[in-house]
């Protein structure tokens, strides 16, 4: 075998000082006591969060529920090009395209149906990467509960951006 630098971690036989439990037990108790005291009186260093009263602050890259963004006039930016549906590894995006009558460029399309099955979705963000229009982005919304499978299939109305974009809880999107 190629000579590799190794470090031996063997500890050999239990030395007498450890045979009598006392030393290690006291040392162990000091550790737990230190944690206890600090968390009780000093600066709290606990990783647990009292969810749902307290919520974790996630980064702006968190891949949560999708948002279909809109233009200034409130129409969807999506041009129904099917790229997101093609890139989706879970095949959970269903799009039906239609002609956009009031498009600036003629023959531009828009989605008549745009559905994501959130129970199939693996929240990988590939749809966001695939979209050439920044029409689909993700929010930090990750608490989702449904009472039926059908309810988990969300359409344009549920996904559409609600107000101005900076008031959404923005998560994963290009550049972030």
């Amino acid at each position: 075998m190629k000579d590799v630098s190794t470090v031996n971690v063997d500890r050999g036989r239990i030395p007498l000082s450890e045979q009598i439990y006392l030393g290690p037990i006291v040392r162990g108790l000091t550790v737990t006591l230190r944690h206890f005291m600090r968390n009780l009186f000093g600066h709290k260093d606990v990783a647990t969060i009292e969810y749902p009263e307290v919520k974790r602050q996630y980064s702006e890259r968190l891949r949560g529920r999708h948002i279909l963004t809109t233009r200034d006039d409130g129409s969807l930016r999506c041009v129904a090009c099917y790229m997101c549906a093609t890139a989706c590894p879970a095949q959970c995006i269903r799009i039906v395209a239609e002609e956009n009558p009031d498009a600036p460029v003629s023959a531009e399309k828009r989605p008549k149906v745009y559905e994501i099955d959130l129970l199939h979705c693996v929240f990988c963000g590939f749809c966001v990467d695939a979209c050439p229009e920044e029409a689909i982005i993700m929010s930090r919304q990750h608490e989702m509960a449904f009472s039926s499978r059908a309810e988990a299939i969300v359409g344009i109305d549920e996904l559409r951006q609600k107000g101005p974009i900076d008031q959404e809880d923005l998560g994963y999107r290009p550049y972030f």
């Binding site: 971690v9 063997d10 290690p24 162990g28 737990t32 260093d45 590894p89 990467d129 550049y175």
Partner: protein, 569 residues
């Protein structure tokens, strides 16, 4: 600091004149640096034996056995063996073509015990029979399953219902049995759903009092057809699937997969991406070890350590999430680099973790390492010698705990591991305590690697600019026609990996994580076989149990760190 995979493709080569000749139809040199032998079935055992026993070849590690289906060929199946020599470093791929009507090859179990479960898997998935195998039956699917799932003509939409009468029952577990004192022994099921199995693992054991006299494992409860599903997806789309192999360290899986595909494509990964991959992989390794040790200690009744370790894990998840956008399933690696650059505060974040993590490791160290109760509980429990561990195909921390310092990062450096100064922890006793010690030290060594990596984080892009492989940057897609066309082409056609095959292996948290990929030049993988490290490790488990106490079984199981996601795929 340029070569990424090319480093590994320059594996040491075996001496040509030592190679077996008889029955060898072809000798090729694979793009992955393996020596590829195509062998006639009649001579397979002789060839394997001479690869193992000829001095100078000494292939002591059987890494993997799998099947590949080529329905249009006369000899429909290839049985593929991956062998390696820890001493000389060379690697072999041995391929044996067999026809569908006579899909039988001799079992390699007599040469390497590692063949046990790998052969069962090839039997299960392809219907290839292994003559002389001691217990050839299905492994990932159940007894009521019809057909062989990885054959190309198997329709994956079929469903097979397992009823109680088809449950796996070892022959010895039925009927009464008496021990030497004419007292009844009893059969006990450990798992599949038991808090101490940390996943869905079932072990059937025969108990004589508190002692286990016989045991057999059943796996496959978490089988999600990863390999079958990847055949219907694009190369890139497999990445989210790899997250779900060893889900305790998903980053490492994605990187390993990407490296293998990059090898076949021949693309270079930018230096910055390599360093970030290393940093996040090492953090993932720390997390994985922390979970393993934390859980193992809980099983032994030491709950506090679990909290200290889980705090580390929580904080590392914070880092991963700030980079990748996901905590558990990061999907951060891409073929050719990374999904996007790290956030601006990355360096600061890494340094603050570097400052914090050692404290928690030290705390656990103080609580446990010298504690006599813990030592008594784990020393001489689940002992396995280095030789035997290697025969079973063990790699990773478990093998190093038995005294064999095999670490892919050292033996076949990738992603620039050769530039980092770190040591490989080894122990000699091979028991549960040794596995604990090795993992503890590995966490510290990983911190050392991260420290060096973060000091030398180069600027620059994080993904290749080859637009046959990677999407062009978004701002260009929005503004430039050419980039939009590249973007469009890549999304709709997928990455076209040239026809060929490669076996890529990296050091996963549990050992050698291998991907054997076969491409036929279309946009989809033709075959992806994962060599999960804990699959090889777990097959030795029932044998380790014989003669041990029931509570020891729990201690041993925890120290092996069996992750059902990668075990069952």
């Amino acid at each position: 600091m340029t070569a990424s995979r090319t480093e590994t493709t320059m594996l040491p080569q075996p001496q040509v004149d030592l190679l077996p000749k008889e029955g060898v139809v072809a000798v090729e040199h694979g793009v992955d640096g393996h020596t590829v032998l195509t062998v006639e079935r009649e001579h397979l055992l002789d060839v394997l034996k001479s690869l193992k026993e000829t001095p100078g070849l000494d292939c002591n590690l059987l890494a993997d056995i799998c099947g590949v289906d080529y329905p249009e060929r006369d000899a429909r199946f290839d049985v593929v063996y991956h062998l390696g020599s820890l001493e000389h470093g060379h690697r072999f791929r041995v391929k044996v073509p067999v026809t569908e009507d006579d899909a039988t090859v001799p079992s390699a179990y007599g040469l390497w015990k590692a063949a046990d479960w790998f052969e069962r898997e090839a039997y299960d998935m392809f219907g290839i029979r292994f003559d002389g195998h001691p217990n050839l039956k299905r492994i990932l699917t159940h007894e009521a399953f019809h057909g062989h799932a990885l054959r190309k003509d198997y329709d994956p939409s079929q469903r097979w219902l397992l009823t109680e009468e088809n449950l796996m029952t070892p022959k010895w577990s039925t009927g009464e049995q008496k021990n030497d004192d004419h007292l009844d022994t009893q059969v006990l099921n450990l798992g599949p759903s038991h808090p101490a199995t940390h996943g869905t693992l079932r072990t059937v054991a025969r108990l004589d009092g508190e002692y286990i006299t016989e045991a057999e494992c059943e796996i496959g409860y978490l089988h999600r057809c990863f390999e079958k599903m990847s055949e219907t997806h694009g190369w890139e789309q497999v990445i989210p699937y790899t997250d779900r192999l060893n889900y305790c360290s998903s980053m490492i899986n994605g990187v390993g997969y990407a490296l293998t595909v990059e090898n076949l494509l021949g693309v270079e990964v930018p230096p910055r991406a390599q360093v970030v991959r290393v940093i996040l992989s090492e953090f993932s390794r720390i997390m994985d070890h922390a979970v393993c040790l934390g859980a193992n200690l809980v099983d032994l009744g030491a709950l506090t350590n679990f909290w200290y370790f889980f705090q580390i894990r929580e904080e590392i998840y914070g880092l991963l999430e700030s980079c990748a956008g996901g905590r558990l399933t990061v999907s951060y690696a891409r073929i050719g680099g990374l999904a996007h650059d790290v956030p601006l505060d990355f360096e600061e974040h890494v340094r603050s973790l570097l400052a914090r993590i050692p404290k928690f490791i030290d705390d656990v160290d103080k609580l446990v390492t010298t504690n006599k109760i813990f030592r008594d509980r784990t020393e001489d429990v689940g002992t396995i010698s280095g030789e035997e561990a290697l025969a079973w195909g063990w790699t990773g921390p478990c093998l190093r705990a038995s005294g064999i310092p095999y670490d892919v990062r050292k033996a076949y450096p990738y992603s620039g591991y050769e530039q980092y100064d770190f040591d490989v922890p080894v122990a000699s006793t091979g028991d549960t305590y040794a596995r604990y010690l090795v993992r503890m030290e590995e966490m510290r060594q990983s911190l050392r690697i991260i420290e060096q990596a973060i000091d030398n984080l180069p600027p620059g892009p994080v993904i290749t600019d080859d637009h046959h492989v990677a999407l062009p940057p978004k701002e260009k897609v929005y503004t430039e026609m050419e980039s939009l066309i590249w973007h469009f082409k890549l999304i709709f056609d997928g990455i076209k990996v040239p026809a060929g095959e490669a076996y890529g292996f990296t050091e996963g948290a549990n050992g050698e994580l291998g991907y054997y990929i076969v491409s036929d030049g279309t946009g989809h993988p033709y075959r992806i076989k994962v060599r999960p490290p804990c699959f090889a490790i777990y097959q030795a488990f029932p044998h380790m149990l014989e003669g041990s106490l029931v509570p020891d079984a729990i201690a041993i199981l925890g120290s092996l760190n069996i992750i059902a996601g990668e075990l069952d795929r």
